[in-house]
């Protein structure tokens, strides 16, 4: 065995690995306060507020090596330290629970089955950055999760886990829940803030960054659901425990998701640095039929061919980036051999076209208008080789030119599909029909 496996856990098969964040998901009644308290609930919040300073909490999170779980992977502790010195203004901790990246569905189950875990993470984060108000922005479609959170907040308040002077520490904390209404762009942090303020959810120019000017122009820190739930366990078990898992690049445990053509799709908690092969084969049960590609981290991330080299890539930020893609949300989608890649990409392009907010020219004209039209032309059998060149040219013009990352999120997967599956595009334009013509996917 190689040396790091002794020191650091990078496989779920490691004898010392234990599922933590996802341990109670799926258990009937796990969303109740009684259940949560019966399993050590709010002990970490009590510990942080009564025996640590806010600086110590930030240090602990920084030392744990936790990186943001929303997709970008920015170190959480570092982000927290960006908050300006207290100047008496209201500060906010904001939770981005607007999960809507295709292929991502981890937050939904945490919201539905373990809402107190998120509330506890919010309390600790609020304490660390000096925010007495927290906001959880839940995507509109997750009504059950929202209702479970609502009930959990009410119970927590009654039991003294929310409100003034928590645990005799002098720190008071209140939570506001806010429902979205169906807009992928709200996953972008500044668009989410505009949405929360009752504006159209167009992204804002950065800088200023949220720590300087967030909700209502006040200092705000925004984190993903599972970044915040990770914090609960970091405080409870210590930074060393967390960093005993993962690679040099990324530490800890993470909720990975797998969907598409696999035997056992779903959410699996694994240590950072486990391989795609372990997720797809050992837990996902392997592909149904023959697979030709997989998307590594949600629909925005460039796809990989289904080959050994890519399957053995560790699921951490640097290793996936070294192969010209991104870990993203860790939402793997397996694409079977008989799915036409042009067709699959049109599905994604259509998604981004629908979700483009229309604010900036490259995205409005490129993503929302021309790309889907080009794909429609190809799939109608009317495309030419020149059209392929036009699409590739559009991709170059979209990358890095738009106001927010949505256009990149659309252009990158298109680019990767040309890189690995250009022959399917060429077959389509040369023959006027798709290389793979399967149209029946629905189970009886």
């Amino acid at each position: 065995m190689d040396a790091p496996s002794e020191e650091r856990i990078t496989s779920r098969h490691h004898p010392r690995y234990r599922v933590t964040m996802y341990e109670h998901v799926g258990v009937e009644g796990a969303w109740t306060l009684d259940y949560y308290l019966g399993h050590g609930g709010y002990d970490a919040a009590r510990k942080a507020l009564t025996s640590m300073s806010s600086g110590e909490v930030i240090d602990e999170v920084r030392n744990s090596g936790l990186r943001g779980r929303g997709g970008a992977g920015f170190p959480t502790g570092v982000k927290w330290s960006f908050m300006p010195p207290d100047d008496g203004r209201q500060r906010f901790i904001l939770c981005n629970a607007d999960e809507s990246e295709p292929g991502s569905f981890k937050d939904r189950y945490v919201l539905e089955d373990d809402p107190h875990q998120l509330i506890e993470g919010m309390i600790i984060a609020g304490f660390a950055i000096g925010a007495t108000k927290g906001v959880i922005y839940v995507r509109g479609e997750y009504l059950l999760g929202y209702q479970r959170l609502q009930a959990a907040v009410a119970d927590a308040r009654r039991a003294g886990h929310l409100g003034p002077d928590l645990y005799g520490s002098g720190f008071g904390f209140e939570l506001i829940l806010h429902r979205g209404a169906g807009a992928y762009i709200c996953g972008e942090e500044t668009a989410l803030m505009n949405s929360y303020e009752g504006l159209r959810a167009n992204p804002r120019l950065k800088p200023p960054f949220p720590a300087q000017s967030g909700i209502y122009g006040l200092p705000t820190t925004i984190n993903n659901v599972t970044s915040l739930t990770s914090v609960v366990h970091i405080i409870a078990k210590g930074a060393e425990w967390f960093s005993s898992m993962g690679t040099d690049d990324a530490k800890g445990t993470k909720l990975y998701q797998i969907s598409g053509a696999v035997t056992r799709p779903g959410v699996y908690e694994m240590p950072m640095g486990a391989s795609f092969r372990e997720l797809i084969f050992d837990f996902g049960g392997g592909p149904v039929g023959t697979a030709k590609a997989f998307i590594p981290g949600g629909s925005s991330t460039p796809m990989f061919p289904f080959t050994d080299d890519f399957l053995d890539t560790p699921m951490d930020y640097a290793s996936v980036a070294a192969k010209q893609s991104m870990l993203g949300t860790g939402g793997v989608i397996v694409i079977p051999e008989d799915k036409c890649i042009v067709n699959a990409l049109y599905n994604l392009v259509r998604f981004y076209a629908h979700e483009s907010c229309g604010k900036c020219t490259p995205c409005r004209e490129g993503v929302a208008t021309w790309l889907p039209k080009m794909y429609q032309k190809l799939l109608a059998g009317l495309g030419t080789r020149e059209d392929l060149a036009v699409i590739e040219d559009m991709v170059i013009n979209l990358l890095g030119t738009a106001f927010c990352p949505l256009a990149d999120a659309c252009a990158m997967p298109v680019e990767a599909s040309f890189k690995y599956f250009r022959h399917e595009y060429e077959y389509l334009v040369d023959n006027g029909e798709q290389l793979h013509k399967r149209s029946a996917w629905w189970a009886e």
Binding site: Q257, Y268, A440
Partner: protein
């Protein structure tokens, strides 16, 4: 002033009221007939929602207020938009601007059962395109339409976060997951009889719920 002249014009023989006067009369009648403010007898709900946000962030209440109306009336009509604007000290067009940005608020009334088919990649790989075609054939409506009886509305939506339990069909607020052709038929039968069955809760992956998909092969409806 214009409204007055429109009303005063009423029944005046011989004088053909101008188009504008006629329109104003219609508007006055409609308003007189239907406008019972939505929040008039929901003051507690209104106060609770407004109380969530600080005075300087009063505008944040737009989305929750729209949600209240949408859920109760299955759409947000012009008068409700005006009412929300009035409550928040905004212009109606500001509220409309926000509302039109989002895909889950509707200007036209939805049917009693609003069927939302997730059409993004993971669901598509599990047959959601065929599920959509099946629903079109069964219900005789296409994306964005409501049937004449106001029973069913059909909408193609983007990723609902149910990729591991695809394909998913959302009926009103509930998710029905791993919808096979047979389960879809069973569900439709229940809906046609006016019943919304309890949602099928499935997770897949770690901690798969106790009831496996096979146990619900017959539908779980009725």
């Amino acid at each position: 002033m214009e409204i007055k002249s429109g009303v005063a014009d009423d029944g005046a023989a011989g004088s053909r009221p101008g188009l504008r006067d006629g329109w104003e009369r219609v508007r006055t009648m409609v308003e007189l007939e239907t406008i019972q403010p939505f929040f008039a007898d929901r003051q507690d709900v209104l106060a609770e929602i407004l109380g969530r946000y600080p005075e300087y962030g009063r505008r944040s209440a737009i989305m929750p207020l729209l949600w209240e109306v949408q859920r109760a009336e299955r759409h947000v009509g012009e008068a409700r938009i005006e009412e929300i604007a009035e409550i928040l000290g905004l212009r109606a067009t500001e509220v409309k601007g926000v509302m039109s940005f989002y895909s889950t608020y509707h200007e036209q009334p939805l049917g009693r059962f609003h069927l939302q088919v997730c059409s993004t990649l993971s669901c598509s790989l599990a047959g959601s395109d065929e599920m959509y075609d099946y629903l079109v054939e069964e219900l005789n409506i296409v994306n964005g339409e409501t049937d004449h009886e106001g029973r069913f509305s059909l909408q193609k939506v983007e990723c609902l976060g149910s990729c591991g339990t695809a394909p998913v069909l959302q009926v009103n607020d509930d998710y029905f997951e791993r919808v096979t052709r047979r389960r879809c038929w069973t569900l439709l039968e229940a809906l046609r009889a006016g019943n919304l069955p309890a949602p099928w809760r499935e997770r897949g992956g770690d901690n798969e719920s106790a009831e496996p998909a096979a146990a619900l092969a017959d539908g779980g409806g009725a």
